[in-house]
């Protein structure tokens, strides 16, 4: 059974149809990259999969681990193992980052009938993962994303991913606004988490990120549909030639 199976997905936001019949299958262990021009529907796809309620699904179905994802509330999808690294992480003033991450972990643990982690069990793990992401210790008790630089915010997303250990991690333009060092660190965090039980959907504008996170499959999203799919070499070609669909390869190669 595939981890994620998207069939004929149509979705709209504020009355505009953005996704127009998208098909995609992702198996556990795979890294997929979605590339495409502005407005093609990349972030909409991420939002729909994370069950953001301002995005309305008008047709199609999505199975996650065999369950109907479209029936789930955002928190249920999260507890089932869908994680979204936000393009624009949100600030929550007055709430310490560690406290927030622990609350999230415990919400998910509770969902699976596991005991909650207390601060003593949590902190060593948290600090160890922070170290991998080369995050400053002083960020432990800072409010969620408040006063974080752009790069710190993105690293904080990856830190949360590392702590919550999702089955499917969606990275929505995590590379945007990152300098090359930050990019390398973020990629290191992601690569450390690759494994047979976890899949990644990496949404990006540029080939650059894929130099560090090598995808198994690359898909080109144009006007709400996947118009081309291929291996990592496709990203390089796109970097060269742009997103204009080449009429020759239109038959879609769906990854197994």
């Amino acid at each position: 059974m595939a981890l994620l199976e998207i069939q004929d997905l149509h979705a709209r936001v504020e009355g505009h149809e953005i996704l127009k019949g998208l098909n995609l299958t992702i198996n556990a262990g795979e890294v997929h990259s979605i590339m495409g021009p502005n407005g093609s529907g990349k972030s909409t796809l991420a939002a729909v999969l994370a069950r953001r309620e301002t995005y309305e699904v008008t047709r199609g179905r999505v199975l996650f681990n065999g369950k109907d994802l479209l029936e789930m509330k955002p928190e249920d999808a999260a507890c089932e193992g869908v994680f979204l690294a936000f393009q624009y992480p949100v600030e929550i003033p007055g709430i310490g980052n560690a406290y927030f991450v622990r609350s999230a972990m415990n919400a998910i643990r509770k969902f699976h009938g596991q005991d909650e982690l207390d601060a003593m069990d949590f902190l060593p793990l948290y600090k160890e993962r922070m170290k991998i992401l080369e995050m400053d210790d002083k960020l432990v008790n800072r409010s969620v994303n408040e006063g974080f630089s752009g790069g710190e915010k993105k690293r904080n997303e990856i830190l949360q991913m590392a702590m919550l250990e999702p089955k499917l991690a969606i990275l929505d333009e995590t590379d945007s606004g990152l300098d090359i060092d930050a990019l390398r660190i973020v990629a290191k965090g992601v690569n450390a988490m690759r494994g047979p039980d976890r899949a990644f959907l990496v949404i990006t504008h540029y080939q650059r990120l894929l130099d560090y996170i090598t995808p198994d499959f690359v898909h080109v999203l144009v006007d709400g549909k996947i118009v081309r799919s291929g291996g990592p070499e496709l990203a390089l070609e796109l970097e060269d030639k742009g997103y204009g669909p080449s009429e020759a390869d239109v038959p879609q190669a769906l990854p197994a």
Binding site: T54, P74, A77, F86, V90, P93, I95, A107
Partner: protein, 485 residues
């Protein structure tokens, strides 16, 4: 979006969890307000002549005010007219227990306190909180008296203080809030039945938090508390006031007065968590809370600090203030006010700078949900004499949903050019993006709102004593349950 709105609405529609009524025989005065009633109250309490005179004076003033101008209308509140002749001004539990032991307290009453989680029983007493429980209008139990007495700290009901320490009452009563101050203060002065009295002698640091739980119980019984706290030179005291009330249909009037006096180098910290019955979803019932709280920093280097968490009452009209008379004195006001459903709050503070180098800090956090209307009203006044005065004001509003309102009315009056004033204000709405972010991490909508609100209130909560802070956080959660959007 719509389902988020639903969740906020759900949180807002949570039922009041502490609604129960205790069945105790009452000794109650006939309805109505007159000199005879005031004489009856004073006689029942066996008061000395000077108290009766003081009350009658206040009553005459109140009658004049009622005739000439009526209740104040300047607040941003919609209040149905109150028939002051349709209220009973005195009620006391008939079985008047002696104060030596809890065994003598009506068990029914003890059960009520237990439901409220008030630590009145023996084991809980060791938690270090002395409780002067006010049930309706008469104090029925006081704990830790012995230990406090050893240090010379007087902590008793107001009635007892009138009997045992008339010289202190005579000297300080009405010196911070005179009966002429306002309509409700005049009413309170005439008919107040009980309250708390604290005196901390020179150089004594009160070894425990003093705590009073108020509870309004009898339907249609207005409650008129009067609290007087005096910290003598170099003394320190922290006082906690917490309250819940059972569900009733009729509006219940509450007009309390609190006076604080800090002499040279003295400090008073006064914390309140207020959770009176707010009325139902349509705005029926609920407590009308008209309170006059004021502290006077009479001595040099004195400090008065108000912290309040206001989540209850249908109407809140309350401005805990500081008169900074002594040089270098400090006034602080930290406030969280939450209005949900049809609740209305008009609350804030006054900082009156008289002495040199006086400093004040105001941090106000208003949260509105449902159809709640939340107003911050603050006055900072720097008099000519207050050379080197400073004020910092921060005033933030948080909106949940799109049917509530937040309003701010800051008044600043400066008569000395050396003053330094800072004012910051913000209004924000719990955004769909914030909620989605937290929910994407696995938190339910309710927990997400609760987390955002608690974060918003953090700077105020950290001013509360530890156990109170925990209680306040829970209270906010409960008050918002059923309200997410």
């Amino acid at each position: 979006m719509s389902s988020t709105v639903e969740t906020i609405r759900g949180l807002a529609e949570q039922d009041y969890k502490w609604g129960f009524v205790t069945d105790i025989a009452e000794d109650r005065a006939p309805k109505g307000l007159s000199e005879d009633i005031v004489r009856l109250i004073s006689a029942r309490k066996g008061e000395p002549e000077f108290m009766l005179e003081w009350r009658l004076n206040a009553l005459r003033h109140w009658f004049r005010m009622a005739k000439e101008e009526g209740a104040p209308t300047w607040a941003n509140l919609t209040i149905a007219p109150i028939d002051y002749q349709n209220i009973s001004y005195y009620s006391a539990p008939k079985k008047k227990p002696q104060l030596e032991s809890l065994d003598q307290v009506d068990p029914e009453l003890l059960r009520t306190y237990e439901k409220l989680g008030i630590p009145l029983n023996e084991q809980k007493m060791f938690s270090g909180v002395a409780v002067d429980a006010v049930f309706d209008s008469v104090s029925v139990a006081t704990t830790f008296k012995g230990k406090l007495a050893e240090m010379g700290v007087i902590f008793c009901s107001f009635s007892e203080a009138v009997q045992k320490h008339p010289e202190l009452i005579k000297k300080y009563l009405g010196t911070v809030v005179p009966h002429t101050d306002n309509f409700y203060a005049a009413l309170n002065a005439a008919v107040f039945t009980d309250g708390s009295f604290v005196y901390v002698p020179k150089g004594v640091r009160c070894p425990m938090e003093l705590s009073t739980y108020f509870r309004i119980n009898a339907a249609e019984t207005g409650q008129f508390e009067r609290t007087l706290i005096i910290a003598d030179e170099g003394a320190y005291v922290s006082y906690l006031e917490g309250c819940t009330a059972p569900i009733r249909d009729e509006n219940q009037l509450h007009a309390a007065v609190v006076e604080l006096i800090a002499l040279d180098n003295a400090q008073i910290k006064y914390s309140t968590v207020q959770n009176w019955y707010p009325g139902d979803k349509e705005g029926r019932g609920g407590i009308y809370n008209f309170v006059t709280k004021r502290g006077k920093c009479l001595g040099v280097n004195s400090k008065i600090s108000w912290t309040q968490v206001e989540t209850g009452s249908a109407i809140t009209w309350k401005y805990p203030s500081c008169i900074l008379q002594g040089d270098n004195s400090v006034g602080e006001f930290y406030s969280v006010a939450l209005t949900n459903n049809r609740q209305q709050a008009d609350t804030g503070t006054k900082m009156i700078h008289i002495g040199k180098n006086t400093r004040s800090t105001i941090v106000s956090k208003g949260i509105s949900a449902g159809y709640g209307q939340n107003t911050y009203r603050g006055q900072v006044k720097i008099l000519k004499s207050a050379t080197g005065a400073r004020n910092y004001t921060q005033c933030d509003s948080l909106l949940i949903g799109d049917r509530c309102g937040a309003h701010t009315f800051p008044y600043i009056e400066v008569r000395n050019a050396s003053a330094r004033m800072e004012h910051e204000a913000s209004t924000s709405k719990i955004g769909e993006n914030q909620l989605f972010y937290l929910r994407q991490r696995g938190l339910t909508a309710e927990n997400a709102v609760s987390m955002i609100v608690n974060g918003f209130c953090k700077t105020v909560f950290k001013e509360l004593p530890m156990e109170f802070a925990v209680e306040a956080q829970k209270l906010l959660g409960v008050s918002l349950e059923g309200s997410v959007g």
